[in-house]
């Protein structure tokens, strides 16, 4: 097990290096630079800025400098936001995005699994249809529409929640629902279909034949196996949701990390682009690893060291 995890960590490092390298070169190929603006700078000032930020060095020197900086976990200053370093941006933005993300994931997982299980147990009954209509709506309504909808009815018309911003718990409810509705719907559908599959298995029939109550069958035998696909989906979902959603953060005015993914690219803010990319990649790779470990716990048939799933 330990050996296998070690091997996985090594692969992770290689993946990370590939991501960093690809990002670095794509970023430099893109026309423009951090000082591109509508009002063009006098060339002397631009040359001076390039020299200060090391942008006048050959690409391999910049690339080398950059790798060294990542090793020291120092992404340098932001080109655009002079008052902050990239480390500041991440350490201030991530907790906000993560708090919102956790709330959304909790909502999504709790309601998604409950809806899915109800739908499967009451297969082809009205409960099933209701749950699946909710799920279809959740998947097909984009989060920004959901967000505006929630703002309009729950905040402006009914006055229950504030329209936007990030100050108290009440402020977090609407964005969490908007962010969590799509994953919730997805989880509900995943749970339902895998529950249906599991329920038709022989061992469930055996359990029934043994005379176990349907409650025990569901909780002890069915759910555990039915959750595997959900766990698979949770890995990338967690990484994606914890690092923030550009759209939701923009609509609700939340000072999270999500907006930096998009704005740093249009600003050509090289250091921020690299910082958030590296940070996100690490989270993503770690969460995939955690998912694999979780497999082993939920389903003892899957052994990390067994080579089948461990690769």
């Amino acid at each position: 097990m330990a050996k296998c995890i070690g091997k996985r960590l090594l692969y992770m490092l290689i993946s990370l290096w590939l991501i960093i390298t690809a990002t670095f070169f794509f970023m430099r190929i893109a026309p423009g630079n951090p000082f591109t603006s509508e009002k063009k700078l006098p060339p002397e000032i631009e040359a001076n800025l390039n020299a200060h930020f090391g942008l006048d060095k050959p690409w391999y020197a910049q690339y080398g400098d950059y790798l060294l900086r990542i090793l020291k976990w120092d992404f340098g200053p932001s080109f655009k936001y002079k008052a902050q370093t990239v480390n500041d941006l991440i350490s201030e933005g991530f907790p906000v995005s993560a708090a919102l993300g956790l709330e959304a994931i909790l909502l999504a997982v709790a309601f998604g699994i409950i809806l899915g299980i109800i739908a499967a147990l009451k297969h082809n009954k009205w409960q099933d249809y209701t749950a699946m209509i909710v799920a279809v709506l959740g998947i097909s309504v984009p989060s920004f529409i959901m967000a505006t909808f929630l703002q309009y009815f729950l905040a402006i018309k009914m006055g229950i929640f504030p329209v936007a911003r990030w100050e108290s718990f009440m402020h977090t409810v609407l964005p969490a629902i908007a962010l969590g509705s799509t994953p919730m719907a997805f989880i509900a559908r995943l749970t339902r279909s895998s529950m249906l599959e599991v329920l038709s298995n022989d061992y469930i029939k055996t359990a029934k034949a043994k005379g176990l109550s349907s409650g025990v069958i569901t909780v002890k035998h069915a759910i555990r196996n039915a959750l595997l696909p959900v766990v698979t989906y949770m890995g990338p979902l967690t990484a994606g949701i914890l690092t923030g959603s550009f759209v939701i953060e923009k609509i609700f005015g939340i000072p999270g990390l999500g907006s930096h993914f998009v704005t740093s690219i249009s600003n050509r803010d090289y250091t921020v682009i690299m910082g958030v990319t590296v940070f996100y990649s690490i989270l993503l790779l770690l969460s995939i690893l955690l998912v694999d470990i979780a497999y082993g716990i939920i389903d003892p048939r899957i052994k990390l060291a067994g080579g089948k799933k461990g690769e």
Partner: protein, 547 residues
């Protein structure tokens, strides 16, 4: 049958959830905007506005964008400040003397204090300006100081900082020597690159401007007491400000919401006192409704939206072709149907806030007849028989829904009025700028906003073909001569005339096609008074109050 019923039932159930959400409003919906207890006389003097996004820097020497400018204008005080009537008035300086040749300005400072109690001295100005000019400090807006003698040389490294014409004679006297007589210099001294810095603090701590706190000292009407990055900025009245009796607001909360719909919703919900320009934006879809309610406020500002022609490639190397394209569009129609913000059709380069007669401009809007004449003339000069022989034409703009709608309308107008087929092409902002600056385009969209209130702002960029912001490849000896004469002219009226003549040269050759002059549109709380917006579109809260 039973199954169908159950489907129907479940759908009803879902539907009822949504319907339930629609009912029962009215409790918080008295959306007159802004303060709910507006009729009371003891209304709290606390303003909540949206500034859209995080200000990139609140260091006067590093700031270079309107968001940072908005904050700095409230917290700092320059030698002059733009007054309620739009003219510069004495601020940190109580007396300003100008020499006969208009090249030497002597400022006498009034007794004033920084927010930490330090006196504001002439050296603070000298320090701030020289700091920005020092090439080691990466001030991207240092060129705003190039009007001062020796400043450009010192900033580009070819001269010494000691030769720069900024001298603090004593604590109260600042003497500034300029390169040329600069009639708008007192406009400039109100601009943020010219603001002072508390030299005692800044010398001790170079990161003084990175956060609110005891290091962030300022000398303006307000002090910054909180700066949560990307979230909000809180300003409070500055008790050490020399003119504090004129300041009535106790507190300003500037939040950062970068979504026009949310901004308007918050305003309607009473969570903001202001929505829209100059600090935020209104959703275009809402403009008409706000106008119909009579809530929308509109003010013209010094800015132009235009299409530039690349005069180095066919067919736009021909002035008559450029004119044909310029005359063939219907600006009013674009404004009425697409922009909906009461913008002014532009038939000139310098905005009417600077040259009032430019409301009329140099030619008539939507003059298809004239356009066809010029097209014919142009085709003959190029040796072409008819429009089908024109080379393929591409219209470029940066990716955005607004620009795209305008481009489509103009594409259609050119086709109808000139019979010319034009393809549209859009790119991401930085890619687009790169193409424009390197003349890799035929017709391209550009906008320009004035930094200070003088026509030179809108003309200077066309002086040299390779000047950074020309983008058209056009230059003219006559135009250059007129600008050169205006630079040394000390008589304000004569200078104005020279600039008008220069504008006429451009309009005669049309390297750029004016489309509209910008306006600012906003809604504000009914009881909020005396927020001052200058002709440049800058906002000041110094005199604002709630009734």
């Amino acid at each position: 049958m039973k199954k169908r019923l159950s489907v129907l039932f479940s759908m009803l159930l879902v539907l009822s959830m949504f319907l339930a959400a629609c009912g029962g409003n009215d409790n918080a919906g008295n959306d007159n905007g802004g303060d709910k207890d507006g009729s009371k006389s003891d209304v709290p003097q606390e303003l909540r506005v949206n500034i859209n996004s995080e200000p990139p820097s609140l260091h006067p020497g590093l700031a270079k964008d309107s968001t940072s400018g908005t904050v700095l204008r409230q917290t700092f005080e320059g030698l002059t400040r733009i007054g309620k009537d739009g003219k510069p008035i004495e601020a940190a300086a109580e007396k300003i003397e100008v020499s006969e040749d208009q090249k030497v300005y002597t400022f006498t400072l009034r007794d004033a204090q920084w927010s930490n109690g330090d006196p504001v001295v002439a050296k603070d100005f000298e320090y701030a300006w020289k700091w920005a000019l020092d090439p080691n400090n990466q001030s991207e807006y240092a060129y705003q100081l190039y009007y001062i003698k020796g400043a450009e040389a010192a900033n580009t490294g070819s001269g010494s900082m000691d030769d720069v014409g900024i001298v603090a004679k004593d604590d109260k006297t600042l003497e500034v020597t300029l390169e040329n007589p600069t009639p708008f210099f007192l406009e400039l001294t109100a601009f943020y690159t010219y603001l002072p810095i508390n030299s005692k603090i800044a010398e001790a701590n170079k990161d003084w401007a990175n956060d609110a706190g005891e290091n962030y000292t300022s000398n303006g009407p307000f002090v910054m007491t909180e700066w949560s990055h990307s979230d909000k900025i809180v300003l409070e009245k500055n008790d050490t400000y020399w003119d504090k009796d004129a300041v009535k607001l106790e507190k300003i909360e500037m939040i950062m919401i970068n979504d026009p719909n949310t901004e308007l919703s918050m305003f309607d919900n009473g969570e903001l006192h202001w929505a829209g320009a100059p600090t935020g934006a209104l959703p275009t879809d809402a403009m008409q409704a706000l106008k119909d309610d009579g809530r929308l406020i509109t003010k013209p500002i010094a800015g132009i939206y235009n299409y530039k022609f690349n005069t180095t490639v066919e067919p736009f190397n021909n002035a008559n072709i450029r004119k044909a394209f310029t005359f063939a569009i219907n600006r009013q129609e674009i404004i009425d149907n697409i922009l909906q913000g009461e913008q002014l059709p532009a038939q000139a380069i310098v905005p009417p806030t600077m040259f009032p007669e430019n409301e009329e401009g140099y030619f008539a809007d939507n003059d298809a007849e004239k356009a066809k004449e010029y097209l014919q003339k142009g085709l003959e000069e190029l040796g072409l028989k008819d429009v089908s022989e024109l080379p393929a034409i591409t219209l470029s703009y940066n990716t955005s829904e607004g620009h795209q709608k305008i481009a489509q309308a103009i594409q259609d107008m050119w086709k109808q009025n000139l019979g010319v087929e034009v393809t549209l092409d859009n790119q991401e902002w930085a890619v687009f700028l790169d193409k424009m600056h390197s003349l890799d385009y035929q017709v391209g969209r550009m906008g320009w906003l004035g930094d200070f209130n003088d026509a030179i702002n809108f003309l200077e960029m066309y002086r040299d073909a390779d000047g950074g912001n020309n983008d058209t490849g056009w230059e003219s000896k006559k135009f250059q001569d007129l600008l050169a004469q205006s630079a040394v002219e000390t008589d304000a009226e004569k200078r104005q005339q020279l600039l008008k003549d220069a504008e006429a040269v451009i309009m005669d050759e049309m390297p750029v096609m004016p489309i509209y002059f910008y306006t600012e549109n906003w809604v504000q709380a009914d009881n909020l008074k005396d927020v001052v917006i200058s002709g440049l579109g800058d906002v000041q809260y110094k005199w604002a109050y709630f009734e």
